[in-house]
Subunit: 359 residues, 4 copies
Amino acid sequence: MTDPALHQISRVCIIIHVVRIAVAGASGYAGGELLRLLLTHPDVEIGTLTAGGNAGTALGEHQPHLLPLADRVLAESTAENLAGHDVVFLALPHGRSAELAAQLGEDTLVIDCGADHRLSDAAAWDRWYGGEHAGHWPYGLPELPGARDALRGASRVAVPGCYPTAISLALFPALVAGLVEPDVVITAVTGTSGAGKALKPHLLGAEVMGSLSAYGVGGAHRHTPEIVQNLSGAYGRTVSVSFTPVLAPLPRGILASCSAPLTASGADAAAAREAYEKAYADEPFVRLLPEGSWPATSSTLGSNVAALQVTVDPDARRLIVVAAIDNLTKGTAGGAIQCMNLALGLPETSGLPTTGVAP
Amino acid sequence: MTDPALHQISRVCIIIHVVRIAVAGASGYAGGELLRLLLTHPDVEIGTLTAGGNAGTALGEHQPHLLPLADRVLAESTAENLAGHDVVFLALPHGRSAELAAQLGEDTLVIDCGADHRLSDAAAWDRWYGGEHAGHWPYGLPELPGARDALRGASRVAVPGCYPTAISLALFPALVAGLVEPDVVITAVTGTSGAGKALKPHLLGAEVMGSLSAYGVGGAHRHTPEIVQNLSGAYGRTVSVSFTPVLAPLPRGILASCSAPLTASGADAAAAREAYEKAYADEPFVRLLPEGSWPATSSTLGSNVAALQVTVDPDARRLIVVAAIDNLTKGTAGGAIQCMNLALGLPETSGLPTTGVAP
Amino acid sequence: MTDPALHQISRVCIIIHVVRIAVAGASGYAGGELLRLLLTHPDVEIGTLTAGGNAGTALGEHQPHLLPLADRVLAESTAENLAGHDVVFLALPHGRSAELAAQLGEDTLVIDCGADHRLSDAAAWDRWYGGEHAGHWPYGLPELPGARDALRGASRVAVPGCYPTAISLALFPALVAGLVEPDVVITAVTGTSGAGKALKPHLLGAEVMGSLSAYGVGGAHRHTPEIVQNLSGAYGRTVSVSFTPVLAPLPRGILASCSAPLTASGADAAAAREAYEKAYADEPFVRLLPEGSWPATSSTLGSNVAALQVTVDPDARRLIVVAAIDNLTKGTAGGAIQCMNLALGLPETSGLPTTGVAP
Amino acid sequence: MTDPALHQISRVCIIIHVVRIAVAGASGYAGGELLRLLLTHPDVEIGTLTAGGNAGTALGEHQPHLLPLADRVLAESTAENLAGHDVVFLALPHGRSAELAAQLGEDTLVIDCGADHRLSDAAAWDRWYGGEHAGHWPYGLPELPGARDALRGASRVAVPGCYPTAISLALFPALVAGLVEPDVVITAVTGTSGAGKALKPHLLGAEVMGSLSAYGVGGAHRHTPEIVQNLSGAYGRTVSVSFTPVLAPLPRGILASCSAPLTASGADAAAAREAYEKAYADEPFVRLLPEGSWPATSSTLGSNVAALQVTVDPDARRLIVVAAIDNLTKGTAGGAIQCMNLALGLPETSGLPTTGVAP
């Protein structure tokens, strides 16, 4: 039916080695998203899957959407079970990673989706999380100035929080370009998977559907110091951050509404746009939308893309940036795999969708 | 079964007169909510209902939840049809009210749920809406300083926009008390009924469910000048307003996340709380939540209550206020009826629920 | 402004006695809905509120939408605390009511929203719930043939399950009129509040939003014997019932899709309609929709109305009835209050809305 | 970091030819889903995209989730524009395909996602759709008995409707195995994307969120004759079908609740399970869930899988089958690509995900 003469060869063949992966916390939302993406990654083989309370049960009971892995039985999340893999993803409650990681040799790439190794400042750790600081690992947001290089060849990676991912991408270019004062205000709205599978009354479907609610207001959310760290690091001195999270009735997605006062030198919308175009010209996973379009989380569902738009409010003399991501993909599991690709020297985009699932 | 001796008399009897009501725009969301509330108002009788394109059809086709009015046939929205009522509610697209109102005598109370008579500044009207300014009517947010008195006995009322209602209630007490600089930043998230029944692709269920999206960013939303007017009026000089609206997947509800820099004299959370307690001590429809509780729109669904919480972020040196309302009730129809009660000398709370429908 | 001569007197005054009410299980969904409705009931006074694990906390923590009762502290659900009221509503897990009721004298009206006293057949109780049968109380679906009389003056009432309410109303008229064979098939879709506030993973918001799922399939749902009992009772001999429940992403609402084979004498849509018009001509809370309109749960949200439509499929030779209710209102708390009104000799419709909250 | 000696070679290389694709109706939901899947198909190149009213605009305006194609400009849906491709997908309103297809030669594979060529019976076409019958093309549900062979090498394919896909897969095995009488009853619940992007009031977000509604009741839905055709074809004589569709508040997903009376020879749940295991043993896209698990649409979101479960209700003497699919994937675009693969001799599973996106 088709004329071969009109066609070109469709595949270039590369012989590479299979990377063996383990996932700790495979029955949770972050673990499930890691596995969903890893199933399509061309270079990996999914090895041991572990869990806490769900150890001993089949993955299919907890992640019925992962059909090809439905019959896998979850092992206990012990170093013994996780050993012997090239890469170990930790998708565990905070405070659990340090000890496990210590038992996995430096020849294992350990990628921690939890908070334990995100903060470089031990005092900040103590204030926000408490307990001993487990130390700081290379920070897994490759788009941040300087971050990508630190990830290449790394054997330990701290995956950013979902809010810090969206917010840092939204704001650092304006700070770095000197367009705004280091005094940012953010309200970010999230779907409820961001809270994980914790069984809390306010996360019940009947409570969240039809409701919008604020929480962690007044600088109380644990992602605040991480946002401060990222923006201050990029800017070169301390950035003041006011962050208000809001829970909304959808499973996935973060929409961050970010703003800051224009500097005295000021900027118009075109100059702002130019700064963002420049910052993200070569980034495969950050998309500055066409002028006039504003981000919607639905277009990033299941994709590793952060969609951004920027403008200037001439009356309020503020720069406004809105960012949309999927909190489980670019905000957690996709970001983690992007870091794995960098650490292993694989193409950075392998296994990471840039199309969303919509409507 | 029950012992009469243990009981008290349950009703005090007051003889009052029935107020005859007409609603223009009865097939839309604001019109429907007006009728839902008026059906339980003890002192009104629902007269003529009118519509634009839906004239000639039964109300039940458009508002199947209003069973007692299902068979009412919608008349054309003409002054002739609306005449002869004590109160006429206009729930029409902007630009339509002035002409109709001019044909209804001063002995008719006209309550405009549209934008035509909200802005006092003709230049602002021209910039944001265009066309001739229809003039300024008493502004229907009784809780604003000075507003209640202007509403008593009024024969014309301009009902506030839904966002300005939530945001003005959230912010004026802090401005008036001198707690914050006149430089406010707001991100407000809304359910989709705020956009009315307009047939636009981005309002389709398949588009809005599972999505968060920003719109009217950068000071572009028409409610911005109204917020400026309210806050500046209360504060006594111009307040700078940065306002970003976000669309979320729920039918009703606005959650406004508002903040402003603390003044040099500063304030702690307790002082902030005190200012709000004082501002709203006697307000039947504004509820400052207990410390530690943050507003959720679900608790205001179908009620005329605005739920508030305030705190101070000591790191960012900002005051943060979150307000939740039902955009169709306190944000439109409930607020309109509250104004009717004031204008007619009825008890301000008549016919207005203070309990929400949850979950 | 209004001409008194044109008005009539709006209120007729009746002096009645206040009915004192207690609610056991006030922190759950059924308890919350009872209180929401009772707050607007003209003849009741809300007395003691009790809970299980939440005893000792303020109601406002669990039911933030019930502002007027926010500061009420929940007592333990003991007979001692519930005594001394005219009416006690039990909104408890099944198996808890019998013992409590036994300690409340016959001069107390006890209305059980749980399952304990619904089934008349001890063997059915044993099969479906297990344990000792607590006995059968007057069944609280006044619209069922014969049921209303049994409720007048009753001191004990068993409130129907939410599914049996919708399904019985949908099907008994066709059976009684001989239009269909006693062999009914039902798929009923429900919002998630029907499952209560139980902390189960599959009820988390992230799980239910964006998903439809079947459960209790194959005759396994505990409401099945209650449906059989109701329909068989009305029909006069055993009716075979196939019932499949489906969970959908909304907080409230049941839509029951019901059908049965036409009898040999057959029926057309007009005859079917006539049978339903006749059955429900005098019922204040059952609404047969105009021809061509099909029920939507949103129009019954928060109202005590069951909306029905009936037709005939001439190809499949089946009668199809669709019923919509709010599972918490007509399906539980509203139905319970309707029964209270009947039992106490109050107007049956007191305190019960017939308008829904939409959109 | 990884020891090459431990790894195997991960890719086998096959040289094939690129298949050039055009999509007519690219701005709609079916068109968008086709493109989302085709972007990951290893053997295709996406050529011309066309639209009706949206011709001349960029795809990104309508499908912002398809980033890699955002700048593609939509051409008019003419045969001229569609010519010159190996495969043309038609995702158009019914009645539009026949004329276009007639202008595309037999060397072009034309895959019609619309209804025009599904029904083999001209009288049925006339009754349900009206107008001239465009004829019958090979029916694109490969899992139906005999269907796969007819699709291999085909140059024309009629893609099934979304409901018929779910329902036919749910029921034909039981009919073929003689487990049930040919008298089936189905209630199927769907997300709102099934209605397409049509701008109708009842499809607005504010209307569908929080609501369940029935439509096309009583055998009135146009998918009914297609279900009859499929089941009767498999069974060998006419099957009676009662079909009730229900609209639910989610963007995607169909959950079909299907049942039929057991035959006299009867069957228990184990025998029923065995029949389904046998029917689907070799099917890559039909998954019979483990015993005790019931399908949820969320686990099929974005995947080409139909998830099934079957049981027997011994009291009602009926077999019950529940099927879940994504209406846009297996129900439309995924099914269409599966047929393309078959027609072109590509691996049937190419480009078709078997994992869903959840939560």
